[in-house]
């Protein structure tokens, strides 16, 4: 019933293309995170779904109802969805209870039904007893809860969350993350969560849509996104991946193939249809490489910098085979080498980026 179907959505502001052919299908009850740096189009996407802006091309459907296309535009007040705003957007001239009750009043729900539902919503977010306060007197976390209660009280089948944790302290974020997660489990509402924070997206979402410059780069589960990035941009953005030129030497066998990178050979993961080519790109993460045991060969490199991270060191090393590349890897205490010293690096794992699948949205 509350499926969200975005089909080839297009949005331009003058000559700037804010949304470029974005297609996302969100299943009923799914928790989708839209992840990207600022200016990637994720807020534009949210405003299209909410109906604050008009679409230039493509379509958006909520359930079976067409709400946005170049010709049709259902105004936000008739879309029957909920939003939690980044700034909370609580009305300062109303009490907490009045804020929460507003949507019910508009829908024609009257007391005592309205009062009962407001109390239930405040109870759900743990704010009973705050009904008569003004929002201005609440803490950031409490305001966030009021915003959540206000959004839930009308029981929308689709809830949009616009960076809801961005204005909160670090320690509050973890507890609010938990709150969202529990809430999603309990209500089964379809949720679209906009964020620039990978950790937040990974922790909360069933699937993540990664966006960049108005395009959808990849739509996949958090683990797939990390393990098997679809292109170099996602590989570089998620988990600080290093993207290196490589040659695929053998056809895949049980999901792995032999590659040559920076003058050494390694066995890494790849797609089952990965062809043999000398123009492939390899994604390595810090945890995929390490200092090679003495006498096992490996990739020689010069340590440029090392920084203590608490319990382990992060090393930045420049391989002798290609001076333009900087590799980073982690090494346990004590420091295995100092800046300026040479080390040997072993490549234990990696992922061959299926570069041709830039427009391939399969998860």
């Amino acid at each position: 019933m509350a499926r969200l179907t975005i089909d080839r959505a297009q949005k331009r502001f003058g000559s700037f293309i804010a949304l470029d052919d974005v297609s996302i299908d969100v299943a009923d009850g799914e928790f989708l995170a839209v992840l990207g740096a600022s200016g990637c189009g994720k807020t534009t996407l949210l405003r299209q779904i909410a109906g604050f802006d008009k679409l230039d091309g493509g379509s958006i459907r909520i359930g079976d109802r067409l709400v946005s296309s170049a010709e049709t535009h259902v105004p936000p007040e008739h879309r029957k969805l909920g939003i939690v705003f980044q700034s909370y957007a609580l009305w300062p001239h109303m009490t907490v209870a009045e804020n929460v009750a507003y949507g019910l009043t508009v829908a024609g729900v009257r007391d005592p039904e309205r009062a009962r539902r407001v109390a239930a919503a405040l109870e759900l977010v743990g704010l009973n007893g705050f009904a008569d306060r003004r929002p201005g007197l609440l803490s950031g976390g409490q305001r966030q809860r009021v915003a959540l209660a206000r959004c839930l009280v009308t029981e929308p089948s689709l809830v949009l969350l616009d960076e809801p944790l961005a204005n909160l302290d670090v320690h509050l974020r973890a507890s609010m993350e938990e709150e969202f997660s529990r809430f999603h489990e309990r209500t089964g509402t379809t949720m679209v969560y906009i964020t620039h924070d990978q950790a937040e997206a990974m922790a909360l979402a069933d699937r993540i849509a990664v966006m960049d410059r108005g395009r959808l780069l990849q739509l996949a589960t958090p683990s797939m996104l990390y393990q098997e990035p679809a292109n170099a941009l996602v590989a570089g953005f998620i988990g600080e991946g290093m993207v290196l030129p490589a040659a695929v030497l053998s056809a895949p066998q049980a999901g792995r193939c032999k590659v040559s990178v920076l003058g050494v050979e390694a066995v890494v993961r790849c797609r089952s249809d990965q062809p043999v080519t000398d123009r492939a790109k390899l994604c390595l993460r810090a945890r995929d490489i390490g200092i090679a045991p003495v006498g096992h060969g490996g990739l020689s490199a010069d340590v440029e910098r090392l920084s203590y991270q608490g319990g382990y060191f992060r090393l930045e090393a420049r391989p002798a085979a290609n001076e333009d590349v900087v590799l980073h890897l982690d090494a346990a205490e004590p420091a295995p080498a100092q800046a300026g010293e040479a080390i040997c690096i072993a490549i234990n794992d990696g992922w061959v980026i299926p570069e041709h699948s830039l427009t391939d949205k399969a998860a």
Partner: protein, 570 residues
């Protein structure tokens, strides 16, 4: 276009209906009167003709009044710029104390009607000056009041509008990033050098804007040249228009239309020159940061404070004392002392004189009505201009500035032309009723209400409205339950500005009033013209008290106001 569901359709009808209603209303208030005036100038009485034009152009009175207008407006502007500029620099950049109180006092003359200022200064000087008599310094009987002259007009114009330059310059100085001043000081320049080489060059735009505003206001001022110029037959364009219209009635409408177009044209030249002057150089300030730390005056602080306050007292308290002392004597020329002092003048103007009592009610109701209507128009108008970014309304926003930017006589003549004949279809005549004045107030002061409302909108997080929209509220409901409460403080400030300005105005009503539709300004003016200075002073004193009282009352809700919407508030 595919068929929309009924709810969507209703929303669309509501929104476009409201938008086009507002577009029509603003066009009616701003474009229609000016358009009508231009047509009258080109084609008097509906026929293309140059007879009236030729007559006006051939009259030496036209050119004498134009010359007088230019001289008094330019000289008044120079005086206002010197006073307002100096005071703004001292009061904003240095560490003088009691800044808020000083700002209030310095800006006060701007909020007091020009004709009251003129009356007050007249009571201060001259052989019958009650105050000078009190201290035995009155000039000998039979000598002329020195203010009945070109110089008198220039002096009062300069004092009246110095706050305009002060306000625009102060707003600019506040936006000046402190780094720019500190960088100059760090480079080894003295504070005066920094002022000359950094601050003043960067302040060119607000200064020029203030000067242009001052010029247009001086040019359009009616009260001061009416009180000081008409007795000595020194006419400027607004007073010439007034005399022509008062002496000969609507028959000379084409001629006064051309005269008011002439004054409108001069005002336009002033505004355009501001544009040209600012186009030549780059004044953009790139950084934003907190306002500059005030320069320490050190041992000069006390003398500067004394200087500023004595100036404020001289231009504010002295004339008002003159006004007050005249209002307390039984007849003009009688010295004021414990035996002669009387409140009879107040009793007469407040309780006995029919026109004066009526004027109080008229001015109060018309100003309050105009203020209320303007707020009701401006809240949805500001919504479409700021948040919906409606292009039609953005253009009309400029059009709404027109009736206020133009001298008041221009709008008054336009309103006469518009309403001289009964309204078509309805067959109701507004001419010679209070409604023509109400219309003129709405047109002229709309922008006074709109500016605070727009700055109010700019400071509200739009997500507050979007949240209500998501909750399912349509535009009418959002306007009432969410938007209006949020912009209310700014709207109240705007309403107050409209009320005070309308309550104190004379320029528009001097040309539009009729028996039964008098305003306070008109009654004060006719008392003074009839030689009843004591009644005029009493009535003027009451309006000053009402004005100052209302201004002071804003401290009650000042905390909730967006910064900079009330000129007298810091």
């Amino acid at each position: 276009m595919s068929l929309a569901d009924p709810a969507t359709l209703r929303t669309r009808v509501e929104e476009t209906g409201l938008l086009w209603g507002l577009v029509g209303l603003v066009a009616l208030l701003s474009l229609l009167p000016i358009g009508r005036l231009v047509i009258e100038g080109l084609a008097p009485g509906g026929q293309l003709s140059t007879t009236a034009l030729g007559k006006v152009m051939a009259s030496p009175a036209t050119w004498a009044a134009t010359w007088n207008s230019l001289v008094t407006a330019i000289a008044g502007t120079i005086l206002a710029t010197l006073i307002g500029g100096t005071v703004a620099l001292l009061a904003t950049l240095t560490d003088i104390r009691a800044r808020n109180a000083f700002t209030f006092c310095f800006v006060l003359p701007l909020m007091i009607a020009p004709q009251v200022t003129a009356l007050a200064w007249l009571q201060l000087f001259g052989p019958s000056s009650t105050l000078l008599k009190l201290i035995g310094m009155a000039p000998p009987l039979g000598s002329r009041n020195p203010l009945y002259s070109r110089e008198g007009i220039i002096l009062l114009l300069g004092l009246q509008y110095a706050p305009l330059v002060f306000l625009t310059l102060r707003a600019g100085l506040r936006a000046l990033p402190k780094e720019l001043i500190e960088a100059g000081l760090a480079a080894g320049a003295s504070p005066l050098t920094v002022l000359r080489t950094v601050v003043l060059p960067l302040m060119t735009p607000p200064l020029v804007a203030g000067i242009a505003l001052c010029f247009v206001s001086s040019l359009g001022n009616f009260g001061i040249p009416a009180f000081l110029g008409i007795p000595g037959n020194f006419l400027v364009l607004p007073t010439l228009i007034y005399q022509r219209l008062a002496g000969l009635g609507p028959g000379v409408l084409s001629e006064v239309a051309i005269l008011s177009l002439l004054i409108g044209l001069i005002a336009m030249v002033g505004i355009l020159m501001q544009d040209v002057m600012l186009r030549r150089r780059d004044f953009r300030i790139t950084t934003t940061s907190s306002a500059a730390r005030p320069f320490e005056l050190g041992r000069w602080r006390r003398p500067v404070e004394i200087g500023l306050w004595s100036f404020a007292i001289l231009v504010l308290a002295m004339p008002f004392l003159g006004l007050l002392s005249t209002s307390l004597i039984p007849a003009f020329g009688v010295p004021l002392n414990a035996k002669t002092a009387t409140l009879a003048n107040y009793a007469y103007v407040l309780l006995e004189h029919a026109a004066s009592k009526r004027a109080f009610i008229n001015s109060f109701l018309m100003s309050a009505g105009a203020a209320t209507l303007i707020v009701l128009i401006c809240v949805p108008l500001g919504y479409f201009i700021v948040w919906k970014k409606s292009r039609a309304l953005r253009l009309l926003n400029l059009a709404a500035e027109l009736p206020y930017a133009m001298p008041g006589v221009v709008l008054a003549i336009a309103a006469i032309l518009l309403f001289l004949k009964p309204l078509p279809v309805l067959n109701v005549s507004l001419y010679n009723t209070i409604w023509i004045i109400v219309f003129a107030y709405l047109a002229r002061f709309l922008v006074l209400g709109l500016r605070p409302v727009i700055s109010g909108y700019l400071q509200i997080d739009r997500a507050l409205e979007e949240a209500a929209q998501i909750a399912g509220a349509g535009l009418p409901r959002r306007l009432v339950t969410i938007i209006f409460p949020l912009v209310a403080p700014a709207a109240v400030a705007g309403a107050l500005l409209v009320f005070l300005t309308a309550f104190n105005e004379l320029t528009v009503s001097a040309l539009l009033w009729s028996s039964g539709a008098e305003t306070l300004g008109v009654v004060v003016f006719s008392f003074e013209q009839g030689g009843d200075s004591t009644y005029a002073s009493a009535l003027a004193a009451v309006t000053v008290l009402v004005t100052v009282g209302l201004m002071a009352s804003t401290t009650l809700f000042a905390q909730r106001l967006p910064q900079g919407v009330l000129p007298w508030r810091d």
